[in-house]
């Protein structure tokens, strides 16, 4: 009977331009199996990933080798069963970081007042460096290719109304809210007709104690 493949699901898993090659071993793969990894820019020739030769783990970090996010890449893996056999190379689909990376959820600070809430968004950082070796955020990268927007969907517990507002800046304020009321919702980054993972928030406006004084 045909043996189950030694390697399956060879793909790039990419979040915020951290590009990890992952694969799965077959059902009958021996625990002593080791793996070799190679990568290439589309249109060029294969190269060994030196840190991922004869490895036992099922992943390999190729972030540095695929850091030009406007290029296209391939990676491939083969299995070696000591004193037995070597599998064929199994290749990934073509990988295009700019299009294929998933943008994670942003970090958000909120400053509630009596009748408003201020939101301060921090877009996710990437492993990529810009001028003066500054760490780039996903906003730095996509701003050169498209208009970046921040979308807030807010739900008012008191009126049970949910509505959406799209903002241009990372800092914005939602005003004219009700005092001492809970608001929850999501904040996304919108880029290249796509949307990041959502940041979920739950915030309560301050009570209006001014009539006490």
């Amino acid at each position: 009977a045909e043996r189950s493949p030694l390697i399956q699901q060879v793909t790039f898993q990419s979040i915020n331009f951290e590009n990890i090659l992952t694969w799965e071993h077959g059902k009958e793969t021996s625990p002593s199996t080791i793996y070799d990894v190679q990568y290439k820019t589309y249109g060029a020739t294969w190269q060994n990933k030196s840190e991922c030769q004869n490895i036992t783990q099922l992943f390999c970090n190729l972030t540095r080798e695929t850091e030009n996010y406007t290029e296209r890449y391939y990676a491939r893996v083969r299995a070696i069963v000591p004193n037995c056999c070597v599998s064929n190379w199994i290749v990934t689909p073509r990988f295009y970081p700019k299009e294929d990376t998933v943008v994670g959820d942003p970090e958000v600070k909120y400053i509630p007042s009596i009748r408003s809430i201020k939101f301060i968004i921090q877009p996710p950082y990437t492993p990529l460096r810009g001028e003066a070796n500054r760490t780039l955020t996903v906003e730095d990268i996509f701003r050169g290719h498209d208009v970046i927007r921040y979308q807030i969907i807010i739900f008012c517990q008191k009126t049970l109304q949910k509505w959406k507002k799209t903002e241009k800046n990372k800092e914005f304020e939602i005003s004219e809210l009700d005092p001492d009321t809970e608001y929850n919702g999501t904040i996304h980054i919108k880029y290249l007709e796509k949307i990041s993972k959502p940041h979920l928030f739950r915030v309560r406006t301050l009570p209006d104690n001014r009539w006490l004084t």
Binding site: K40, G43, R94, H145
Partner: protein, 152 residues
Amino acid sequence: LKQLHFGHCVVSMDMYEIRKGFGEIKEMTQAQDQYTSIRLLHRSYSLQDTKTEDRCCFFHYLLKFYLANVFNQCQANSNFHQRRVSRIANNFLSIKKELTLCDTVTTCPCGKEAIHRYEQILSRFERMESHSAALKALGELDILLDWIDKTE
């Protein structure tokens, strides 16, 4: 809608329809391309880096190349694939018709650079077996769309 300005002439491209059509066949098409050491639309002949006055002609060449040499070679697969290729091809034709109108409004000069760049792409294409070459060119459509996006 992406608008390309060539002199007084404006060509609009429904990038959404084209990217949607291509997105649905991209993985299947690229997976059939076994020659991953060859790239037709090479970065050194990109549209956005072409001299401004040569862009109109180079772009016209690229449209005609895809219409005449690529899409009709890639229709055989499944009905699903055929319909997506038709979506892309008819949008390319719509753009080419606008560009042809441009020729009457403004000149679309074909300088040496435009011709040289196109010939580089065509010669790589012709060195391959025709169906494999057409499949590779179709699989590189996202490269062409990126060039168009980056062309001011």
